[in-house]
């Protein structure tokens, strides 16, 4: 790790990349560190929060606490909570950043470099990570708010209603903002009989798990598919895609960190000391653990096709096969990938706890499942995580099966729009499904996973492999 950081400071891009390529094992350690760091950081912050409540004025003289003193204590605490969430997400992101940072070129030029090199390495990395994280957090907040509003409108219009119509004037566009403010202003209730530490920790873990996945999600590409083909022919290295951390194990990383969320869910259910929550948590554990398998198997088909675990490589491979006609989901590219897409999508619905697989929070059975006891900002973390997870899954589906940012005609902006459009369309389909279908039962969910999705996913994987081998 230190060697990596040192290299980063000395010769930012090439050495970092080289080291990264050589030290794949490091990444495994980093993932472990990520999980450990999350828990550790949460512990410290939560401990401080706990002690701060009544004794707020007596706390030290850092700027943050100074401002906190000026505010009403409830608001201050809540802001601190929000901050904690952000910091945690940053920590979650920092680790992958440490491993493969495509640092903007200006840092290596001119007078900046010596000064940058004078700064301790970890600070450089942390600053970059923080900036990117804040940007992503902002982007995701906008996305969550917008899709929250869209979901209400979509469901309303499907059901012959109008949905929110007041806030903000035009069709209630500001409803989500109002809700966000309301979440912050709500009283933060911890049930008396709850396990306070884990009760408070759980939302952050769910949130950080969802958010850390964004680090390895690609946004767009700077070069066109033709240039890529040319570069490949010439045997030159390809420029990085627009991605926070172009891991060469991107898919594995995403699958790994998104399943961190289930730890938070179990924690929430257990710590609430509510039987409905507990049932929800148990269901969720069984569900997510099972559905990881068909989801991962379906994604492996794309990996087999492209020969790489990096999402950028997977998309580029599709681009070089043909910007529209080369998507993996087309039967002429590979007849099995269409089925794999279906399997992946169904599995992703289950992994994100969306209807018809929303049994961990089935409101008509379990009141609200694992988040029954949560209110205010803590509840909004769950909500936020759900939407971010939806987006992550949709981007993964677009990248692995639907050609990612192609057709982009060489324009990065268009590419971003195309990828965003595909992902949002898939999110939209999730919404339509949610408002159309009833909920399945726990045993049926397991039946679907183990007896339907998994065998077919394996068939797809084997079929894809055979197809790839047979076609050379």
């Amino acid at each position: 790790m230190f060697a990596l950081a040192e290299a980063l400071k000395m010769d930012l891009i090439p050495a970092g990349l080289a080291l990264f390529a050589e030290n794949v094992t490091l990444i495994g350690w980093a993932l472990v560190a990520l999980a450990g760091g999350l828990v550790f950081a949460n512990g410290i912050i939560l401990y401080r929060l706990k002690t701060m409540g009544p004794t707020l004025p007596r706390m030290g003289n850092t700027i943050q606490l100074f401002t906190l003193q000026l505010m009403p204590p409830a608001l201050g605490r809540l802001l601190l909570l929000a901050q904690t969430g952000a910091i945690l997400a940053c920590v979650g992101m920092a680790v992958p950043m440490l491993m493969a940072v495509p640092v903007p070129a200006f840092l290596s030029a001119g007078w900046i470099v010596p000064r940058v090199q004078a700064i301790p390495t970890w600070i450089v990395v942390a600053i970059i990570a923080l900036v990117v994280c804040k940007a992503l957090l902002g982007l995701m907040s906008v996305y969550v708010m917008a899709s929250g509003w869209v979901e209400r409108k979509v469901s309303a219009h499907m059901q012959d209603r109008l949905g929110p119509m007041y806030v903000g004037g035009w069709h209630g566009w500001a409803q989500s903002i109002a809700d966000g403010i309301k979440f912050i202003l709500k009283e933060d209730i911890t049930p008396a009989a709850a396990d306070r530490f884990f009760f408070k920790l759980a939302p952050y873990i769910v949130f950080a798990g969802a958010f850390a996945a964004l680090a390895a999600l690609p946004w767009t590409d700077l070069v066109s598919s033709r240039e890529i083909a040319n570069l490949q022919e010439a045997g030159k290295p390809l420029p990085p895609g627009v991605i926070a951390a172009d891991l060469n194990i991107g898919i594995l990383y995403i699958l790994g960190v998104t399943s961190l969320g289930v730890v938070g869910i179990i924690m929430a259910g257990w710590a609430s000391n509510n039987k409905w929550s507990l049932l929800g948590a148990m269901r969720s554990a069984a569900q997510i653990v099972s559905y990881e398998i068909p989801v991962a198997t379906a994604l492996l088909c794309a990996v087999v096709m492209s020969g790489s675990l990096s999402l950028v490589d997977i998309v580029r491979d599709q681009g070089t096969r043909g910007e529209i006609l080369g998507w993996y989901c087309w039967p002429w590219v590979n007849p099995f990938m269409g089925i794999a897409l279906l399997i992946y999508y169904v599995g992703a619905l289950a992994e994100t706890n969306r209807a018809p697989f929303d049994i961990p929070e089935a409101e008509s059975e379990l009141v609200a499942g694992y988040h029954t006891e949560y209110s205010g900002l803590r509840f909004s973390f769950f909500y936020f995580a759900e939407y971010v997870n939806m987006y992550t899954c949709s981007v993964l589906a677009s990248c692995c099966f639907l050609g990612g940012w192609y057709p982009n005609f060489g324009s990065p902006i268009l590419g971003a729009a195309v990828l965003g459009g595909k992902a949002l369309f898939l999110v939209f389909v999730m919404m339509v499904l949610r408002w159309t279908l009833p909920r399945v039962r726990v045993d049926q969910l397991m039946y679907l996973c183990w007896k339907v999705l998994l065998p077919w996913a394996l068939v797809c994987l084997v079929g894809t492999t055979v197809w790839v081998v047979a076609r050379g």
Binding site: H157, M158, Q159, D160, L162, V432, L433, T436, K451, V452
Partner: protein
């Protein structure tokens, strides 16, 4: 045995097919509604933007009660009929020679009401009282939003004893504050 096996496989594939098919059928319905919501005139009127748009109630809607006390002959039929005992009348025969005036349909009034209260907190909005009223002075208006901050707001006082020339023994002629409802 062999047949069972075939049957099981058939069921398996049939369930998968039906699952996908019925999902598509359901989505066709919901998406159709989603897209022609604006076009379909039949269901346009379902949502009313309540405080700004108002629901137009039907003729003969049974809303808040109102008594036009000038037309009331204080016959107490309404109070007797009311199943919830929420009309409270304190009345007295008019003194000899005292003229209480006439109702709008010409019936002379013979009884004066010191108190004519309706406790809407207990009212069933059944309309039985308005049906028996001989002068049709007690009516149900079409007011339907009468939320108040306290229960007193739903305790309606209709009598206007200040109009009478003689006061009852021991009662103040001014409108009394809302007393508790007592059984009629």
């Amino acid at each position: 045995m062999h047949g069972d096996w075939v049957c099981g496989v058939y069921e398996y594939f049939k369930a998968i097919f039906l699952g996908i098919w019925s999902t598509l059928v359901g989505m066709r319905i919901t998406m159709a509604r989603f897209f022609d919501y604006v076009k379909d005139p039949l269901y346009q009127g379902v949502t009313v933007q309540y405080p700004t748009e108002r629901w137009k109630v039907a003729e003969g809607y049974r809303g808040m009660l109102f008594n036009d006390i000038d037309d009331c002959i204080v016959c107490s039929q309404c109070a007797n009929e009311c199943p919830a005992d929420c009309i409270i009348i304190d009345a007295e025969k008019a003194a000899k020679g005292e003229d209480l005036g006439k109702t709008s349909n010409g019936t002379p009034k013979k009884i004066k009401a010191w108190r004519f209260d309706i406790d809407l907190n207990h009212c069933l909005y059944c309309g039985l009282c308005t049906e028996v009223c001989p002068t049709e002075c007690l009516i149900m208006t079409d007011a339907y939003d009468y939320a108040t901050y306290s229960r007193d707001g739903l305790y309606l006082l209709f009598a206007r004893p200040e109009k009478y020339t003689t006061a009852p023994a021991g009662a103040s002629p001014a409108a009394s504050p809302a007393p508790e409802a007592k059984p009629a």
